[in-house]
């Protein structure tokens, strides 16, 4: 019985670590956001921003996104309901809400051990 209980714990832990469907969904939203930015379709990009990121950029979402650069998403890594995507030179952070994946940080650059600095959203 103990072995079975542990198998459950290990499988649960592993399945949490490798959510492939979740990862694809996060990658898809990251790509849609990045493409919308590249094609200057800011309303589409804004629709994929998480509420808190959107609230922080003021009344004109389009103006806040104008400085971002889009690009092809070349890599994503997903853990539970959090995901990070690399697009061009920048990094995107995403969170899975009840309604699906949304961007919590865009145009982010690494600061080593410090949290990323993001042009939109972020810490």
């Amino acid at each position: 019985v103990k072995t079975a209980a542990w198998a459950v714990v290990v499988v649960a832990a592993l399945s949490t670590a490798c959510g492939s469907t979740s990862e694809r969904d996060a990658a898809q939203v990251a790509q849609e956001f990045s493409t919308a930015v590249a094609e200057r379709r800011f309303d589409d990009a804004c629709a994929r921003l998480a509420p808190r990121a959107r609230d922080r950029i003021g009344p004109s979402c389009a103006a806040a996104l104008a400085s971002l650069r889009g690009g092809a998403v070349r890599e994503t890594e997903t853990w539970g309901d959090e995901s990070v995507a690399r697009a061009g030179e920048h990094t995107l952070f995403l969170h899975e809400f009840a309604a699906g994946w949304l961007v919590t940080g865009a145009g982010c650059v690494s600061r080593g051990d410090q949290p990323y600095q993001c042009e939109v959203g972020g810490p």
């Binding site: 714990v9 832990a13 539970g80 309901d81 009840a98 949290p115």
Partner: protein, 224 residues
Amino acid sequence: MRRFLRDNGQTLAFGALFLGALVGQAFSGLAAVNERNLSEGFDPVGMGDYLTSSEFAVDVAENWQSEYLQFFLFIVATVWLVQRGSPESRDPRSIGRESDEKQQVGSHTTTASPAWARAGGWRTALFSRSLGLTMAALFLLSWLAQFVAGRSAHNIERLASFQDPVGWGGYLTSADFWNRSAQNWQSEFLAIASMTILSVYLRERGSPESKPVGAAHTVTEESG
């Protein structure tokens, strides 16, 4: 049925307490996670999602591993380590694995002895260490589960804080992994040390973990 309950009271009562505490942990843990989700502007999660999350798994596993480590060390170390006057200790004059006669193996088995105690060879050797080995295996399995689930929970936290996730090596040397391990180990070792020394001078009438109330403080290896 009544006799079964009486004869297995310890296992059943502590098994029920374990399940009750686990249910309590599930509800309080879910509430804590959702408090945090609310403060970060995220949606609350349901019980099903929380019970299959790495956060719940690591919180369970980190406590399990330390308990099994405690029992493994206590079982094996007390073959050689003694505490004069403690009912948790062997008599200082009989340190070690003891003779076949005292351990009822070899030519000293009886018809009531377990089959592997009578079998001789590797089976008796393995059976002679089966309690410690099982505790060690359960410790290693639960520590592995803590490591796997801990890395996942740690990476979720890092991503939510806009930091890069860490790999296996990074997590093995991380403060999170060793802090979770050490904070549980210290409490287990404190419990063993205090139980061992307090039982030299204090008594609990009727408990097999205590010496008889009237036994001298210097008497070792006697329970009442």
